[in-house]
């Protein structure tokens, strides 16, 4: 990507983190333009959280360098913290403080002007004003996430880092949460969201895919799909399990997966794949070429990078 650093919210090169002898993140480079919503994808333990922590200055990278909001991630972590909001994977506000006390604490820590007014407004926007004196621990999972989001954006950060904010949240609350994320982005905030949900990835301007500490791909959903050069066919078949197991043994089939009573067969070599599907017994089914889903693409990328989903 050719962009000057002033247009990039995050620009890191060769980011590597080792804990003892284990390399958790290896050689990750990301260029993320300002004002976009980026999805950060990858299986559990792929190094997403560690990468986010390095970007916002919580962890010192073992190797690599880069800038966050034009500030050096190695030297200016204090300044970076002032301009970023980081929402941790687990609810990390104080459950034994009330909702209002939590927001008061955050406002004091960032030294925000007109604190009581600001906190009241935040409470009203959240719809929690009438519950402000309840303990934060008494809130449901979805409300906790919304409170956390409000708390980490109270100081109007330029960059928002959200670590699996919707894990374990019901679909309704997830949709509202995403609406808020897009509202924030419309106001010029740059947002990096890590997630497991493919439908959430498709709500992002761009995605970064991490597996086993390595960056597998980055770009828009269309770019990533196209870049994978994956061809996918679909057929309806009641006995999907037996067929998909047989297909997985064939050359040219990268993987076959079933979705309900439908089967998806994917491969990167279209000619070879056609040959397989036109031979018995597979030619008894009616195959249609479909657009590969993001999930197909990721499974393919992982298989190619020598990883097996079942290990994760």
């Amino acid at each position: 990507m050719c962009m000057s650093s002033s247009e990039l919210a995050i620009s890191v090169r060769g980011l590597t983190k080792r804990f003892g002898k284990t390399e958790v993140v290896s050689q990750v480079s990301i260029d993320m333009p300002k004002g976009q919503v980026w999805g950060f994808l990858g299986p559990n333990g792929s190094g997403k959280t560690t990468t986010i922590r390095m970007i916002c200055g919580l962890l010192k990278p073992s190797e690599g360098q880069g800038e966050c909001l034009g500030l050096d991630i190695l030297r200016d972590s204090e300044k970076i913290k002032l301009q970023t909001g980081y929402m941790t994977q687990k609810f990390s506000f104080w459950e034994d403080l009330t909702i209002k006390e939590n927001l008061d604490f955050v406002a004091r820590m960032y030294h925000l002007a007109n604190r009581s007014e600001l906190v009241d407004n935040t409470l009203k926007n959240l719809g929690l004003f009438h519950r402000k004196n309840q303990l934060a621990g008494a809130l449901s999972g979805g409300w906790k996430q919304r409170l956390a989001l409000a708390a980490v954006t109270m100081h109007k950060p330029k960059l928002l880092l959200l670590d699996e904010p919707t894990a374990g949240v019901d679909p309704q609350a997830r949709r509202e949460f995403w609406r808020e994320i897009h509202t924030l982005a419309n106001h010029g905030m740059t947002v990096l969201v890590s997630t497991h949900y493919m439908d959430e990835a498709e709500r992002c301007d761009s995605i970064v895919y991490l597996a086993n500490g390595k960056l597998i791909t980055q770009g828009s959903v269309a770019q990533v799909t196209k870049g994978s050069q994956l061809v996918t066919y679909r057929a309806d078949e009641p006995n999907v399990r037996a067929i998909s197991e047989a297909l997985n043994q064939e050359d040219g089939v990268e993987f076959a997966a079933f979705f309900g009573s439908a089967i998806h067969v994917s491969g990167t070599n279209q000619a070879l794949l056609n040959q397989v599907l036109q031979s018995p017994p597979y030619n008894q089914l009616t195959w249609h070429q479909v657009k590969p889903s993001l999930e197909d693409v990721f499974i393919s990328l992982m298989t190619r990078s020598g990883l097996d989903l079942r290990q994760h």
Partner: protein, 375 residues
């Protein structure tokens, strides 16, 4: 100014949490009171009224006077009268009695004839401190109890005065009251226990629950966080000090010879030393359980090697070196010095210096380790 505001923010948060956590709050005030009452009244390094069995093969005016003398000394309490030596031995070995006094047949006759009769006192010396004071009194007890009978024809039994008049001044605690030594010491022990344990556990809870990551993501410097977290517990320590000093005065009538302000200064320095250590423990421990274990690993040597339980000068030199590292050792010297001896600051500079050194070293360690908490 910003520093102060962030420190203040953390301090306010800690105080609210502390107030809401009833268990911890109860422990802060409950622990000192319970320990003080329990140990203050229970520990006695000069034990009296120890159970004693008598095996007397004769009963004369002399033996009666002698036994009366034992009883009047306060150290011996006759609980058993036995008829055989074996019986007495068995009682001693079962721990039913601490002493057996054996007066053999013919005692009085030999005494009158100046044939140096024997009295056997068997003591359970498995705990030396329990029996030593009682034993050391025996000669005086016998001499004094025989004296009133050594008149007239028997006046030759009277002991000759010694050639040298020994003068002993038991200074600072002339009546040998254990509590005068224990209660000021308990101030140090309680501050150590709550200071190290409560801070390390409160801090570890924060990292266990993930709150720490949140604070670290905010623009606060390690020093600000540390200060904000330590100050509320300094307050707790001061409250405990007030409770203990009031109890010392009104429950135990411990004298207070020296400067109150100097003691407050010492308490402050000592509290901070303990809190720094608690903070350091919290950066090492991963769970509250580990923090607890580390506290006890530190707490036991503090009690045993600081001079709280056993005389410091009685320990071998290497153990004294270990003791010198512990802040409690120095605090005990200060608090006993001020309260019992009225020691001025000039006599205590060494102890203050040692505690400050401890704060410097452990405090730096705490900050260094805290920086790397997430790593």
């Amino acid at each position: 100014m910003q520093y102060l505001i962030r420190t203040w923010a953390i301090l306010v948060k800690e105080l609210i949490q502390m107030r809401r956590d009833r268990m911890t709050f109860a422990m802060m005030i409950g622990i000192p009171i319970i320990q003080l009452v329990l140990f203050g009244y229970a520990i006695n390094t000069d034990p009296k009224s120890l159970p004693t069995a008598i095996y007397a093969e004769e009963n004369t005016e002399f033996t009666r006077a002698m036994l009366k003398g034992f009883e009047n000394s306060g150290y011996y309490q006759f609980t058993q009268q036995v008829q055989s030596y074996q019986q007495a031995e068995a009682m001693l070995s079962r721990g039913e009695v601490s002493f057996v006094i054996y007066i053999p047949k013919g005692f009085t006759r030999q005494l009158v004839k100046q044939q140096m009769p024997q009295v056997l006192i068997e003591a359970d010396a498995s705990d030396p401190s329990a029996s030593s004071n009682a034993i050391s009194r025996v000669k005086d007890i016998i001499a004094q109890s025989i004296a009133p009978l050594s008149v007239g024809a028997l006046s030759y039994l009277k002991q000759k005065p010694q050639a040298i008049d020994v003068v002993i001044h038991n200074k600072y605690n002339p009546e040998n009251i254990t509590q005068f030594n224990i209660v000021p010491g308990l101030l140090g022990v309680i501050l150590t226990m709550t200071g190290v344990m409560i801070t390390s556990m409160a801090m570890t809870r924060e990292s266990e629950k993930g709150n720490l990551e949140n604070i670290l993501a905010m623009p606060a410097k390690p020093f600000e966080v540390m200060l904000g977290k330590i100050l509320p517990y300094v307050l707790v320590g001061l409250v405990q000090t007030v409770v203990i000093l009031l109890a010392a005065k009104y429950l135990f009538a411990v004298p207070f010879q020296g400067s109150f302000n100097l003691l407050v200064l010492a308490v402050l320095v000592f509290i901070i030393a303990n809190l720094c250590l608690g903070f350091t423990f919290s950066t090492i421990a991963k769970t509250q359980m580990q923090a607890m274990q580390m506290t006890f690993f530190f707490f036991l040597p503090s009690i045993l090697l600081s001079g709280f339980m056993f005389p410091f000068r009685g320990m071998p030199v290497w153990a004294q070196y270990i003791g010198e590292v512990l802040p409690l050792t120095h605090f005990l010297r200060i608090v006993r010095g001020i309260m019992l001896k009225g020691a001025p600051f000039a006599q205590l500079t060494h102890e203050f210096f040692a505690m400050l050194l401890f704060i410097l070293v452990v405090g730096c360690l705490a900050i260094l380790r805290y920086r790397r908490t997430l790593d």
